[in-house]
Point group: C2
Chain length 150, copies 2
Amino acid sequence: MVDYDFMLSELKRILKDKGLKFTSQRELILKTLYENDGHFSPEDIYMIIQRENPDIKIGIATIYRTLALLEEEGLADSLSIDNGGKRYELGLKKHHDHFICTECGKITEFYDDVIEKRQEEVAKEHGFKMKSHSMKIVGICKECQDKNKQ
Amino acid sequence: MVDYDFMLSELKRILKDKGLKFTSQRELILKTLYENDGHFSPEDIYMIIQRENPDIKIGIATIYRTLALLEEEGLADSLSIDNGGKRYELGLKKHHDHFICTECGKITEFYDDVIEKRQEEVAKEHGFKMKSHSMKIVGICKECQDKNKQ
DNA sequence: ATACTAATTATAATAATTTTTCAATATAAT
DNA sequence: ATTATATTGAAAAATTATTATAATTAGTAT
């Protein structure tokens, strides 16, 4: 796992490169993504920050803006859920795909080499220059299946 | 390609099964999806219907409700695009995945047996009961790459 | 055919989510 | 420290989706 100091210096480097400024809000949002494992809506991030830093004021618009920036620069990744909007997670992690459970809403990560490799090939075959890819498998997780049986 | 009469009779059968009613609006929305190849937002569908049937009045809420119904019954499929909301396409087509071009926004369909098969296996390996799956490859399409070179 | 019942509709209001505007503030370079 | 500029929070605006309701319509039974 990439460590926080590295991500922070990446953020600083990127901001400098683009003539943008390093702010406490941007740092805080990155840190929040780093310290919380999961897939969060902007609203989630907003509430986590408020809960964990009752002294700090931050606007929801800043959350939206910053998450978009982090994603653009690869420091965050997003996932579109069927209902409602995007969920964000920390970027620079090993690439992976997602299981989404329709019963409990849980999002689980998985990785499969065969699929990864084949995606590259398929893109190449179609002359498509791949920048990213995502796969979602929607269904019912093991836990919910067991729960249903009882 | 499944023909329209089949889809229409499917719709009628499903509605009857569920004690719902066959209405001109529901038929019109299915027909619109059938006759227009592409991936449309509810707003798109609304505008296409208004344009092609200036005499008919239909409410945007009906579009939303009907698309959700059609999707639930498999007569339509939806795809979450990064910006904004869902895009719908006709259902009962052969399953496929999507290329999304970040330059021109074009969505292209593709199908790959290796990926399909492997998805089934991965879900099974994780004890996940797959209901559906989707894959998006985001990048730059051949046409835009060529355009950029000029 | 007609009448009846319940589902469906359009419209408008409402809710939820995301983006934009703008004046005040904070940052980075000098 | 000063200055120029990017960023922020707050509120307004825009977008997207859902809900309530009275009127209408489809499907069934008569």
